[in-house]
Assembly symmetry: C2
Homo-oligomer: 310 residues x 2
């Protein structure tokens, strides 16, 4: 790429599933790429600069911000499912930690920051589907509240200190390189269990609905948000259509040509019934549209697990 | 009062200006009253139980929650004007501190919590006047962001753990017992300076508009919110009409029968241009309406300062 608006990009939390995809995508697009995370993953190549550390310490984070044009902030110390176990930790680590990141970004004259927020938690149980960004926000987990508060700090730093920013409210990502051995990420876990011929665990009756987005579709949204001029705003990034857990299982069964076993557990009080994001703002502001159907995405997921996750 | 819904009330931050009024008001209404604050004020009487400590430590706060029916949470470690000096401190002390308070309230089966939020900061610079609770919230100071995040935790604890709560978005309070020797609280400071024949300092040209509410009017709103059944919601508590700083000065001049000197300083980027709260929700849900005009309130303020602040 010639005449690039930005040269160098820092990805915090880059060692995770989304970070893995994003770092190589940015590299392919010609950016100098730096990854900051707790532990250096085995797949990091020599053309990705890696700095090891905990983002919640400004002192440790500071060297990672030097000479950076854009920060893409993925790092988080909590998950939606576990954040209510200790909301104080969530506030102290993620919120105060990200404020420290913003302070460093202002100090080092970073040009832009993209914050990865959460379309699946900030709205709580929405009353309108697909759910637009203007919908009331009443999270049922600390994770969502802290994401919201962080969005507000991004807006404030944009208004007061000129730090351009955009918060992307991502829906449920799935795809290659996702961990399959956790309770997190239904598509990956379900496919893995099905291929292993082990029963799939479901909280509730499987009618909960999610907006599943294929990870490679999200990459275009992130780089488009990075290169756009919009600032101090939030944008939903989802598939814009939704599927129940039972529909995901039916799709896996159809692709595998056999039934899979499920075990049903009681619904949890913080489980959101339905997520389906209105993505018209992303279409309009970022000229972005996802292209991978859930069936195609699940097929890619299954192929990746089958081929030994290379 | 007979057949009281609640017997015992804890006021955190009760040693401050609003707490002073509130404790005696609750006492007069027949409640057993406990005050928790950093330092015991001289005016605390023997019929008010006082526990000394920092609310941001759950360990220190815990004994204050025992045998309490209702908590009115006024305590804050920051002010709107100073919160941007160190937003990390704001998040760690006020947000994590209040989450600790909520955890204790659930553990000790507190029946209700009233949180004092901030009508002057949560909306940022509103586009609609008077401003209803449903207006977009984009604070320009950390104080406002943390108040918003706290409101969200109250809603979440109400939904998940049945802790009944209400957040009151108070406008600019003024009245007797307010500190006159700070930069906080325009009416009190202006009256004091005018009586001392010292110049009044103003940031901007004095056209900024505030919703000034006489403190004794706010007491009825707080006790009505305490006794009401509404939960998991936010309610504006203001005078519902607004006045510019220049109008406050004109009112003081009229009451004193002479001109007062003013010094004008540059506007600060986080100064909100206009605050005027829509109080129809408070009228409807709490059957509450303020009754003291700004002129009557300023007269009471001047009388109190003149008589040696007894």
């Amino acid at each position: 790429m010639k005449n690039m608006k930005y040269k160098s990009v820092l990805v915090t939390g880059g060692a995770g599933f989304l970070g893995h995809h994003l770092l190589f995508d940015l590299l392919n697009k010609g950016f100098a790429v730096r990854c900051f995370d707790l532990v250096k993953p085995s797949w990091i190549t020599s053309d990705i600069e890696f700095i090891e550390g905990d983002f919640t310490s400004s002192q440790i984070l500071a060297p990672a911000i030097k000479d950076i044009d854009v920060i893409i902030h993925l790092a988080s110390t909590t998950l939606p499912e576990t954040s209510n176990d200790d909301p104080q930790f969530d506030a102290i680590s993620n919120l105060a930690g990200t404020i420290g990141l913003l302070n460093l970004a202002v100090k080092h004259r970073v040009k832009r920051i993209i914050f990865i927020s959460s379309g699946g938690t900030v709205y709580g149980n929405p009353s309108v589907f697909p759910t637009p960004e203007s919908h009331p926000v009443n999270p049922l987990c600390s994770y969502g509240i802290i994401k919201l508060a962080t969005e507000k700090y991004l807006r404030m730093y944009s208004a007061l200190y000129g730090l351009k920013s955009c918060s992307l409210r991502l829906s449920n990502l799935y795809g290659e390189y996702q961990r399959v051995d956790t309770n997190q990420g239904a598509v990956a876990v379900f496919c893995h269990k099905a291929l292993q011929r082990k029963p799939i665990d479901i909280w509730g009756d499987g009618t909960v609905v999610r907006d599943f987005l294929y990870v490679k579709d999200s990459l275009e949204a992130i780089t488009k948000a990075m290169l756009s001029d919009c600032s101090g705003t939030e944008i939903n990034i989802g598939y814009g259509q939704s599927a129940s857990l039972n529909q995901v299982i039916a799709c896996i069964e159809s692709l595998l040509g056999r039934k899979v076993a499920c075990r049903y557990f009681p619904e949890r009080p913080f489980d959101i019934h339905k997520v389906c994001l209105d993505i018209s703002k992303a279409k309009q502001k970022l000229d972005w549209d996802p292209s991978t159907s859930l069936q195609d995405g699940i097929r890619l997921m299954i192929d990746w697990i089958k081929t030994g996750k290379k």
